[in-house]
Amino acid sequence: MASYPAGYKYTKDHEWVELSGDRGKVGITDYAQQQLGDVVYVELPEVGAKLRQGQSFGTIESVKAVSELYAPVSGEVVDVNTALKDKPEAVNADPHGSWMIAVRLTNAGESDALLDASQYQDLVK
């Protein structure tokens, strides 16, 4: 059974966000990587991109399929984990450590509506 970090917030689309002040790091959940299978390609936005909550910010591809990545919170992209470009398989090996983008939040209140770890665990069990 996968453990979902208690400090993260989760979406029903299987992204997580780790909030710290007005910043949030975003990745996909262990459940999501299991469903995808071997990840072979991650396409991420440029620094400076402005995202609305629920908007697609990139794509992730496994051998079999393409999936959209959705922003769990609104904000401006301030950092991109470019290491995933050459090592996309890190998402399989360490999904909760493999952040994809960091955003500066533009609407701090909207993260309240996200799931906490136990709610997310119930969703995917």
């Binding site: 299978g37 071997d38 072979v40 390609y41 396409e43 591809e61 079999k64 393409v66 398989e89």
Partner: protein, 371 residues
């Protein structure tokens, strides 16, 4: 997600084994099949470097027998079955009058007047109905859908021979590619065929359904030291694509001819007549206007089935198979392109979800096993 009401999925004799082993199961052609066990990449690499074991019992078996069985097979199958000795098999097409693919298949000559056709799972009823009707003019021959009598396992990879040999009295080293023999595997009556859908050396093993699990277990046990692992349909697809083997429903179908699919070698041009012959001869004389081509993606991105191909602003074709290959570690695929754009080295664009991405035609197969 909404799901249309459909017939329950069919199960192979190994279904319980797959589920107990923790395989990820998916619906495929009406069957509940394992798409992966340990992961597509790990399974793919295992087949290229050691061996993998596949359950392909969903494939269909249609037997044709009778005094005129050869004439019957010659009529419905594009390749020339008169070239087959007893104990030999060939790849072929089940074609329409237009020379397009109802299905592709393997033809095994079991006896001088007894053939076994192995067809794709999702087309068994359609193929059988077509064959039963179309062989009538050939004379004394009957077709039987024998699919429920066979389970089919595929042991593929460079270690396949050494893993299988201890389980059978059949001398495997002497068996040539695309030949088969009857014998036993793990004390179970079996037909062993040196064929496969991975581009690797290996064997396909026909066994009675009630004994499939025993043979499956015996092969994995024998392969333990060589780290042979069970593999699913996901790796089967990436392996066959690296080997440039066509997949019916992707690369060939009822809209593409054997010539457009660059499969002239499975057309028995010297045969008197067969279904599709007239159309193919005419197309051969006039030349094809479009043809399948293998390609590599040059920019970052993966070109997948259904993505459009462009030369300049003109949409010129479509990708029929494409993936990031686990072994070659690049994005490859097959596409139908105008014939003048299919020479190796020709560049074109693929529309990857709204972004034009450069690709280059390369010779097929993408992967060829070391001899």
């Amino acid at each position: 997600m909404e799901q249309a009401t459909e017939a329950p999925l069919k199960k192979t004799p190994l279904n319980a084994r797959h589920r107990a082993s923790g395989a990820k199961m998916v619906p495929f052609g009406g069957w509940d099949m394992p798409v992966e066990y340990s992961g597509i990449v790990a399974e793919h690499v295992a087949v290229r470097t050691r061996a993998g074991l596949f359950d392909v019992s969903h494939m269909g078996q249609i037997e044709i027998a009778g005094n005129d069985a050869l004439a019957a097979v010659q009529r419905i199958s594009s390749n020339d079955a008169s070239k087959l000795a007893v104990g030999q098999a060939q790849y072929s097409g089940l074609l329409t009058e237009q020379g397009t693919f109802i299905d592709d298949l393997l033809v095994y000559r079991l006896a001088p007047a007894h053939f076994l056709l192995v067809v794709n799972a999702s087309h068994i009823p359609k193929d059988y109905a077509w064959i039963a009707e179309q062989i009538k003019p050939a004379g004394d021959a009957v077709a039987v859908d024998a699919s429920s009598r066979y389970a089919l396992l595929a042991l593929q990879g460079p270690a396949a021979l050494d893993v299988l040999q201890p389980l059978t009295g059949v001398e495997l080293a002497g068996m040539k590619y695309y030949w088969f023999a009857n014998g036993e595997v793990a004390s179970v009556r079996a037909t062993i065929s040196r064929t496969g859908y991975t581009g690797e050396d290996g064997f396909e093993i026909f066994v009675p359904p009630q004994s499939a699990d025993r043979v499956w277990q015996a092969i994995l046990e024998s392969g333990k030291a060589a780290d042979v692992i069970p593999a699913g349909l996901g790796a089967r697809d990436t392996l066959r694509l690296e080997a440039a083997m066509r997949l019916h429903g992707n690369d060939i179908d009822e809209t593409t001819t054997a010539l457009e699919a660059d499969l002239s070698w499975i057309v028995g041009w010297k045969k008197d007549d067969f279904i599709g012959a007239a159309a193919l001869r005419e197309q051969k004389a006039n030349g094809v206007t479009r043809k399948i081509a293998g390609f590599e993606v040059l920019d970052r991105g993966i070109a997948r089935q259904g993505y459009d191909a462009y030369v300049g602003d003109a949409k010129v074709g479509v990708v029929t198979s494409g993936t990031q290959t686990p072994f070659l570690k690049k994005a490859i695929g097959m596409a139908y392109l105008p014939a003048e754009h299919t020479a190796a080295g020709t560049e074109f664009d693929v529309d990857i979800r709204g972004r034009r991405t450069r690709a280059r035609v390369v010779p097929m197969p993408f992967y060829k096993r070391p001899k």
